[in-house]
Amino acid sequence: MKMDDDAPVIYGLEFQARALTAQTAETDAIRFLVGTQSLKFDNQIHIIDFDDENNMINKSVLLHDAGEIWHISGSPADKAVLTTCYSKTSENRVLTCAAVWRMPPEWESGSHESPDDSSNNPQTLELLCHLDNTAHGSVACVLWEPLGDGKRVISLAENHVLLWDLQESSTKATISSTATLEGKGQLKFTAGKWSPHHNSTQLVTANDTAIRGWDLRSMSQIYCIENAHGQLVRDLDFNPNKQYYLASCGDDCKVKFWDVRHINEPVKCLEEHSHWVWSVRYNHSHDQLLLTGSSDSRVILSNMVSISSEPFGHLVDDDDLSDNEENQQEDKGKEPLQDSIIATYEEHEDSVYAVEWSAADPWLFASLSYDGRLVINRVPRALKYRILL
């Protein structure tokens, strides 16, 4: 079993899928949530549990009958609570809505006993509240306040930023403040990220080729990187350890790193993918590790040492020094790490729209391609030890 530790684990869904998230509040089990896209059948949320010991996957399925899921996001405070963005067709009009859901409490026990039956008789998500957006148009994504108490979310609807307060155990959502992006043409947010820094008072959004930063206290724009990418910006992520650093990716096949204090030029630019890059994620603990997924059906794990918070490798604690003299010697022999691609994962056969690090295990990540294939991979062990030791 240990031999196969680095081998990817593949799980296939019956439906096409775009939405993937790690269960943020869950820190013990390695758990991912996948939302499916189907116009004809009832959509589902697959809860993928990865058993690290046995290298096995346990799944549970919850029914999401509101519509096909475009975006999914788990509450950072309550692991049973999540939001989805789903499209709803009514009167020949397609509208993407957002809602807060609670998983039924029994899903865990039921799934273990008869995993095969779960598809036959899946349990349904319990609706907590809608993030009513009829006035603002289709929702692109919903963002939870990072490290928050699960009471505040932001939804990006067309060209509006809506900040919601969830009250009464998330059963009531009220808009506490809004901001609107004004400008020529049809402006539409494509992606956003709530910054975990600055007391969670900052938000960054992407529309077309521009990246904008917002101050949530005044709901006003604080910076704008025009033409951040040659084409559409698809995704953003904050460096978890460096408050001004931000990664973005887009249709120009590039991944760019920004220092938002100097927005004229990117700090760094990667051009490894041969088609649109749909998703970019920093590792939550080791910010040199960066994951990108692209519609060239590849996932690339990069090691961006030079712009990480640990540019010279992990600082060795005193305890470690006394523990192992040999290790120390090896450390000295090592050269400083260079920015490099660690691995290119080619298990997918269709466009990869989402990649996500596990919330529980910093060395593990999942990627989801349109054909419904979920692949769980690990950071190569050699690199892991190199970073740790």
Binding site: T89, N92, N227, Q231, S274
Partner: protein
């Protein structure tokens, strides 16, 4: 008379025996002669007759005795006669001798008397003489005293007259006389200065000499006088105890003021030329001083020349050489004449004037030369026009040549080497200027190309449609023509630059045999600094086109990218090696330092070409993708009407692809396409079958130019990018029934026209299948259109 008694022994030895016996008699014993002690020797002194007789008697017979007796008697007789003869002879001699002695006795007596008389006379004379001296003594002393007084008086007179004389000399400007006169009197005056009268004279003299020195100094300062005058002046001043150092300083400062004037003239010219430059005036300065301009410099007024309207650099340098440098040389020469080579006499020699003077001269020359050099450098820096290099080279040559004169005059001076450094710097600067000129030229040519490309934008399309009308080609240059003209322009420019730079190493230029110009200039300067840098610049700027265009929305026209990529490729295949060979041959480059090899440059050019081509694919792909994306995103696919036509976007896509095909085909040969199935355009789509078909989107990178399928791979890449975009966009939308059908129609249309451009038509099929499949998946009411209807619609256009 013993000899008479002793009988002579034998006749032949008789005379000697006689002689010796005489000697014996007179006691003149011959030393060394061993007397025989034999008593039997009848001639010996110890002869004993008894012993002899006894012996004879004992030994001899009677006969023998008889014989002996007769013999002896005979000998005795002859001896007797000899004796008689001798006595007779000598008697006469005795007589005469006695006579002589007597005569002498008388003579001496007479002489003695005369001597007595003489001594008496002498005594008288002595007495007289003493008497006379005694009487003359007083008078003599008086005369001596008088004569002493006389000379003293003469001296005093000289002294008293001195001031007047000096004055007169001064009037007559006979300075030398005055100085020598004063010199003679100086010591005396000094010695007796305690006496008031002398003090007066001394003071007078001082005043006069001061005046004289003043005049001399004045004369020296005026400097208008000839070198000989000056030297005399200096000499006199030196003799007047004027400190040599001060003189040197004065001389030099005087010379400096004149040279400063020259320098200021130059500087003024410099500023003038600046002013006229900026003003663009046509003031042609007439140069009064410098007529010996070489005949070739008539070309300085060449209208083809760079627009420096003022004096050109050759005139400037000429003026500098003729005025400043030659004056400087004169100053050095006369200074050396005066202070250094001048034979020093007496006390002056001890002052080590030459060393001091030499030091001063060096400092003087160095400071002035530094100012001159800074002016020259400023002027050289202004020489920015790269039109005609020969002028600059000739100017530098003259500059350098003239400085050699200083090195001859002043062997230890650093000035000539500094001059050489300036020349080297100028050459370096020149290379840089040429490089930047080439670069701007390159940019300008590219701008021209860009404009040319912008103008015939329609004609390219038109050419593609009409198969290339001759008229449109005549009106505006086609891509290949642009390429050839561009590369010819660049090459010619580079060649002319090389020719210009080559002047630096011409045989008749003095500095061309300096080690810098033989080695480093050729290899590091021209080859690396100019040619290689330029080639690298081309590659680099080409690469920049790839980078900047991607971010800023493709400001570079794609055709330019294509053109540049072909240019780089041509460079890789032939041009680079040609240029470098040309350079190496022209400059006979001997590589002491490592130089960039041809292969490295070729690799760089190739890389640039590849990058450009890849970028071209990306840009063109992007243009088509954007069209497709906008068309998918902006439409309401749920509520669309039943399709009657192919959407205009699709026609546009096909048109653009065709024109790209033409464009690329103009520059790159067409590759071999796969044989197409005859019914490839009629292939039908199955809406569902492809839903699970695996399709991998592989990156399109063109790796080899030797591959004949280059054109095809370019087109394949563009089409792949476009269709992939189409697919992704479709996946983000939801379709109604007619939406799906419209996609079906569009895809069929694309299928009909795009297959011909790609190497593997299956690729197009796959992607189009995937698009239709995805659209079907995202369709709320998936009821596909009849294939026959689709075909009809598509054929209708």
């Amino acid at each position: 008379m013993s000899s008479a008694t002793t009988p002579p022994d034998s006749d032949p030895t008789g005379r000697r025996q006689v002689h010796s016996m005489l000697k014996l008699y007179y006691g003149m014993n011959e030393e060394g002669k061993v007397e025989s002690l034999d008593p039997c020797d009848i001639n010996g002194p110890h002869f004993d007759p008894e012993v002899y007789l006894n012996k004879l008697r004992k030994e001899c017979s009677l006969g023998e005795l008889m014989d002996h007796e007769s013999c002896t008697v005979k000998q005795i007789r002859s001896l007797d006669s000899d004796m008689q003869t001798l006595v007779y002879e000598n008697y006469n001699k005795f007589i005469s001798a006695t006579d002589t002695i007597r005569k002498m006795k008388n003579d001496f007596k007479k002489m003695e008397d005369e001597m007595d008389c003489l001594s008496a006379n002498m005594a008288a004379i002595t007495e007289f003489s003493a008497h006379i001296s005694g009487t003359l003594q007083d008078q003599h002393a008086q005369i001596t005293k008088l004569s002493g007084v006389h000379t003293l008086l003469r001296k005093l007179q000289f002294l008293f007259e001195l001031p007047a004389r000096l004055n007169k000399c001064l009037e007559l400007q006979a300075y030398a006389q005055a100085v020598s006169a004063h010199r003679r009197a100086r010591c005396v005056l000094q010695q007796y200065s305690h006496m008031p009268s002398f003090r007066g004279i001394q003071d007078d003299c001082h005043v006069i000499m001061e005046q004289l020195a003043q005049q001399l100094r004045q004369k020296f300062r005026d400097g208008g006088s000839s070198a000989k005058d000056l030297s005399e002046c200096v000499e006199l001043l030196l003799q007047l105890d004027e400190p040599a150092e001060e003189l040197c300083d004065k001389f030099l400062s005087h010379a400096q003021s004149r040279l400063e004037a020259d320098l200021q003239g130059l500087e003024a010219e410099l500023i003038d030329s600046l002013v006229t430059d900026t003003g663009g005036g046509l003031v042609q300065k007439t140069n009064p001083g410098s007529n010996p301009v070489s005949p070739s410099s008539s070309s300085t007024t060449n209208p083809f020349l760079s627009p420096t309207a003022g004096t050109d650099i050759l005139e400037f340098i000429d003026r500098g050489c003729n005025e400043f440098v030659s004056n400087l040389c004169l100053v050095i020469a006369s200074y050396q004449e005066l202070f250094i080579n001048h034979p020093q006499e007496g006390e002056l020699a001890s002052k080590k004037i030459p060393e001091m003077a030499n030091g001063k001269l060096h400092v003087f020359v160095d400071t002035l030369a530094a100012r001159y050099f800074s002016l020259v450098e400023r002027r050289i820096q202004e020489e920015k026009g790269v039109g005609d290099n020969s002028l600059l080279v000739r100017a530098l040559d003259r500059f350098h040549r003239r400085l050699q004169a200083i090195s001859k005059l002043l062997p230890g001076s650093a000035v000539p080497s500094q001059g050489t450094e300036i020349v080297v710097r100028a050459a370096r600067e020149r290379i840089k200027q040429y490089l930047s000129a080439l670069q701007t030229f390159y940019h300008d040519s590219l701008t021209d190309v860009r404009q040319a490309l912008a103008a015939p934008r329609l004609s390219v399309g038109g050419a593609s449609a009409s198969g290339g009308g001759a008229t449109s080609k005549d009106a505006t240059p086609s891509l290949p023509e642009l390429l050839t003209s561009l590369s010819n322009f660049i090459l010619n420019q580079l060649k002319s630059v090389l020719a210009s730079v080559h002047l630096f190493t011409a045989k008749d230029i003095t500095f061309s045999n300096k080690p810098y110009f033989k080695g480093e200039f050729c290899s590091q300067g021209v080859r690396e600094g100019l040619v290689v840098s330029f080639i690298k610049f081309i590659c680099q700027s080409s690469r920049q086109y790839c980078e900047s265009a991607g971010d800023r929305g493709g400001s570079t026209p794609p055709a330019l990218l294509l053109l540049l990529s072909r240019l780089c490729l041509d460079y890789e295949t032939s041009t680079i090696s040609y240029i470098l060979t040309l350079t190496d041959e022209q400059f006979l480059v001997q590589h002491h330092t490592p130089v960039t090899p041809v292969t490295a440059l070729c690799a760089e050019a190739r890389e640039a070409a590849q990058k450009l081509l890849n970028h071209y694919v990306k840009v063109q792909g992007l243009i088509i993708s954007q069209m497709l994306r906008k068309s998918v995103e902006t439409r309401d696919w749920v509520n669309t009407i039943e399709p009657r036509n192919v959407r205009a976007v699709m026609k546009r896509v096909v048109e653009d692809t065709t024109s790209i095909d033409v464009q690329v085909g103009l520059l790159y040969e067409e590759g071999v396409r796969k044989a197409h199935s005859s019914d490839s355009s009629k292939r039908t789509f199955s809406v569902y079958s492809s839903s699970r078909q695996q399709i991998r989107y592989a990156p399109i990178l063109i790796h080899t130019f030797t591959c004949a399928a280059l054109l095809v791979s370019v087109l394949t890449g563009i089409i792949k990018i476009s269709l992939k975009t189409f697919l992704e966009c479709v996946r983000l939308r939801t379709f109604g029934r007619y939406g799906l059908q419209q996609i079906q129609v569009d895809c069929h249309y694309l299928q009909m026209y795009l297959w011909r451009f790609v190497s593997d038509e299956n690729l197009v099929h796959f992607l189009l299948d995937e698009i239709v499949g995805s659209a079907a998946h995202r369709c709320l009411d998936p009821s596909p259109m009849e294939q026959s209807v689709i075909e009809v619609i598509c054929e209708r256009g």
